[in-house]
Amino acid sequence: MNLKSLLLRRSIEILVVFGIIMTGLFLLFHAAPGDPISMMVDLTMTPEDVERMVAQLGLDQPIWIQYLYYIKNFFTGNFGTSFHYGRPVIEIISERLPNTILLFTTATILAAMAGVWLGKIIAWYKGKAIDTWTTIFALVCNTLFLPWISLLFIWFFAYWVGWFPLSGMMTPEIWVNPEAGFFAKAVDVLHHMLLPLLTLFIVNTGSYLLIMRSSMLETIKEDYILTARAKGLSEKQVRNRHAAPNALLPVVTSVGLSLAFSVNGGALTETVFSWPGIGRELIFAVSNSDYPLAMASFLFIALVVLVANLIVDILYAYLDPRISY
């Protein structure tokens, strides 16, 4: 099978899976207890108020009619209006998503590069002290409770040492200053980004390091590594040309998917760093039954993951000549 038919087949698959996810999401949200209106514990909200709101939002309609509206809305590119923001969902997502991508996707990319690079080198020193300590360090990083380490970092680096701002994405004092130029603002955002980036980087690098290291250790046992050594290649050449490319193959899937999942951010990290990303919105939307916002966010993430899966598959075929479609 060639690439074209692969793409066609997988696209159809993606559409089917997406349709299932769409329906599943809808059913899940409508089966969950509590509607968005009665969730408000507000004594000034009378039962009549609730009824009126429910009717105006169309939540009193039979479920299949709501479903049809949902499908129709989706295909007209209208994801509805958030109950709590009173704004089009698409607007909220497109406002928050870039922030998440800026932080989480960058962190994932950097962590993957560093983790793969370190894992590649560390595997070569298997059994040596440096390997033992790095592995222990990576394991520790990997099991760290993210909000806890985030708070610790904020306390130490931002509060105690004072290198970074405490949290948030920008210094309001700079942004409200009409004299502040683009450069000052850009530097301000990057400055705010550094600490959460560092935190995510440290926590994530560990896992990529471990994956790459174990993959390398598997690869090193292969006969072609012996061949490469026998040919007179230096250790570095053996590692970089023969071990790493093969060891990288299983890591690609992992990295690809975590890149995809990075778009949903992390509710806890975003909360601790007051980072206005999509993760917090997602949690808020789910816990407050803000269906339109929650469903649109989930659909978006599902789409990204599905497409990322396809890209990983294609990339895999490109990296591993044994695989052809």
């Binding site: 969950a32 207890p33 509590g34 009665s38 969730m39 514990v41 004594l43 000034t44 909200m45 009378t46 039962p47 108020d49 609730v50 009126r52 105006q56 939002l57 169309g58 209006t81 709590h84 009173g86 704004r87 406002e95 922030n99 950097l110 590069m113 560093a114 690079w117 708070l151 904020i154 306390w155 509060y159 004072g162 290198w163 970074f164 701002p165 405490l166 949290s167 948030g168 920008m170 309001p172 004092e173 700079i174 942004w175 409200v176 530097v187 301000d188 990057l190 400055h191 550094l194 970089n240 040309r241 490319p245 990288l248 909360t271 601790v272 007051s274 206005p276 816990s287 039954s289 990296l319």
Partner: protein, 580 residues
């Protein structure tokens, strides 16, 4: 294959670039230390969701809105009586026509136009036309609103309503000039109410001390002083108003931990959020920060489903109330930062609070509480194979309690919110479960997600007992009627217990129309007596509001019920640097 050779080079470059960037920021951070002394910086735990006044339901949105839109009357911080705000004086009541006449102060909207009686009329009509949730029920009994002249407005009531003063008139007034076009457009839509609530108001036009300059979604809100604020320089309730800060910056700190650090680091002057008692010690040690402990108008309670046995038996509920040690809950669960509640109305609400109420277990030791509850239950036909108190008067572990008809009591649950939502209530559930076991009452606490919990209790009435709370009760005690009037015992209604008592209903109905505060006070106090005799709700505690400020740059916070985050503080805080 070539990709891999490229990689290693790419790595090196990326890492080098990262180091350079890091260096840049460290350098940059050293240079931006300059601050404007006249900006009041307030920390919030979450960003406001909307500044559309009709949609806003979350606390943070309401905080910002309260600085922009203003009501005709507000509460005096000392007496909690009504104080004229946008109004010039107290309203004049005419019993003949059941009408109130309100004279407006000389006041302007932030665009410089006059606040007129037409704006008031418009606001009331808009609420009634659209039946705006949360507002409509407070205005629906107003038959007609008339602008007598530019600055005089008269409200004709369909029937006397006591809450008109204390509830209705403290609502915000919106400008006709900004909202009339929005309302007109909304009326043409399929769902006018939704259209109104979802209308985008980029720059809300208000009459408050501050006006929105910029809202950077996800980062901060920038409010600047409203030069047309009616209160500037005048005295209301013996307080000379400012505001003194040129601007307010609302910053978002997702957790209280970071908010507290921000206070200590002097990045904010006030964290507008009630923090946990655990922070107090640390903040008090810091010489730049100050902690304010304030009473709150809140109610945390345990409720029974009195629609079904055994909860329908008042004797059973009284026994449960007796065995619960509220002081223990306050000391152990809330670390002492709460007030005990013996009525549905918080004792801090002096005017309405009734002191003479049954005391149940108050002041008794654990054994005495068990003995008293045992006596109460025995007298009402409950029996045990092994009673909680034996013949020689010692407290022992009882067998399961038997109902007056001789059958053993079924297991039942105490529904609570989950611990991650409110650890205090979840813990109370478990503690109360153990106390009830001392009487052989088979209760078990069960935390449940908030949505499911509310649906079962409020909508489906499918529950035994529950622990819930209201963090911010209005000062006017009309909520007593909402909680316990039999008319509100319906799916979705606020009488979640299903309490029904003709005596209470009569008192409540009377209180609605009692226009004389003295008479109404009497009725409200009687209602509390009736309710506490029957205890469909066992009031537990009223937590303190714990707030902290940085004292370095601003002073003069006004403490009142619910804390220092109020319009008075915002109008009164002064920059310490301005004096120099």
């Amino acid at each position: 294959m070539k990709v891999f050779f490229l990689f290693s080079d790419f790595y090196r470059k990326t890492i080098a670039a990262s180091f350079l960037l890091a260096l840049c920021f460290v350098l940059a951070s050293c240079s931006n230390g300059e601050k404007d002394g006249a900006i009041l910086r307030i920390g919030m735990i979450e960003e406001p969701r909307t500044l559309n006044i009709w949609l806003a339901s979350d606390a943070n949105s309401r905080k910002v809105i309260s600085l922009i839109y203003q009501p005709l009357y507000t509460y005096d911080p000392d007496t909690l009586d009504l104080a004229p705000w946008l109004a010039q004086s107290m309203p004049e009541y005419d019993p003949e026509t059941i009408s109130y006449t309100v004279q407006l102060r000389p006041a302007k909207w932030s665009d410089g136009t006059e606040v007129t009686a037409h704006d008031v009329v418009f606001t009331v009509d808009l609420i009634k036309d659209f039946q705006v949730p949360r507002y409509y029920s407070q205005w629906q009994f107003v038959k007609k609103t008339v602008a007598i002249d530019e600055k005089t407005v008269r409200f004709y009531l369909a029937e006397p309503r006591a809450i008109f003063l204390t509830r209705t008139l403290v609502n915000y007034i919106v400008p006709k000039s900004q909202w009339a076009p929005i309302a007109e457009k909304a009326k043409t839509m399929a769902n006018p109410l939704i259209a109104l609530m979802n209308a985008r108001v980029e720059k809300p036009l208000g009459s408050g001390p501050y006006v929105l300059a910029q809202w950077r979604e996800g980062a901060f809100l920038h409010l600047v002083k409203n030069d047309h604020f009616f209160g500037s320089g005048i005295e209301i309730s013996n307080r000379k108003l400012g505001p003194h800060a040129d601007a307010i910056l609302f910053k978002i700190y997702g957790t209280a931990d970071v908010g507290v650090l921000a206070l200590k680091k002097d990045t904010i002057d006030f964290f507008w959020w009630s923090i946990q008692p655990g922070y107090i010690e640390d903040l008090e040690k810091d010489e730049n920060t100050k902690v304010y402990l304030s009473d709150r108008s809140a109610l945390y309670y345990m409720g029974f489903n009195v629609r079904k046995p055994p909860f329908s038996d008042p004797a059973f509920r009284r026994a449960a109330n007796t065995v619960i040690d509220k002081n223990f809950i306050i000391e152990r669960v809330l670390q002492g930062y709460a007030a005990r509640m013996d009525s549905i109305v918080p004792s801090e609400n002096l005017f309405w609070y009734e002191e003479h109420l049954p005391r149940y277990g108050q002041g008794l030791s654990r054994d005495d509480r068990i003995k008293k509850a045992h006596r109460l239950l025995s007298e009402n036909g409950y029996t045990w194979e092994t009673a909680p108190v034996n013949r020689s008067g010692e407290v022992v572990t009882p067998s399961r309690i038997l109902l007056p008809d001789g059958r053993p009591m079924d297991d039942f649950t105490i529904l609570t919110p989950p611990a991650d939502y409110d650890p205090a209530r979840a813990t109370c559930g478990v503690i109360i479960q153990e106390w009830l076991k001392d009487l052989g009452i088979p209760a078990s606490a069960r935390p449940m997600s908030f949505g499911a919990l509310l649906q079962r209790i409020k909508d489906r009435h499918d529950f035994d007992t529950f622990i819930l709370g209201y963090g911010q009760l209005a000062l006017d005690p009309d909520y007593l009627r909402s909680f316990f009037h039999s008319a509100n015992n319906r799916p979705g209604g606020w009488n979640m217990s299903g309490y029904s008592n003709p005596e209470f209903d009569r008192l409540a109905d009377e209180s609605v129309q009692a226009m004389d505060p003295r008479i109404r006070q009497e009725l409200i106090r009687k209602m509390q007596q009736v309710v506490m005799e029957d205890v469909p709700y066992i009031p537990l505690y009223n937590p303190a509001a714990i707030e902290a400020v940085g004292e370095k740059r601003f002073t003069g916070w006004e403490q009142m019920i619910d804390g220092i985050g109020n319009i008075w503080s915002i109008c009164r805080v002064k920059s310490t640097e301005a004096d120099m």
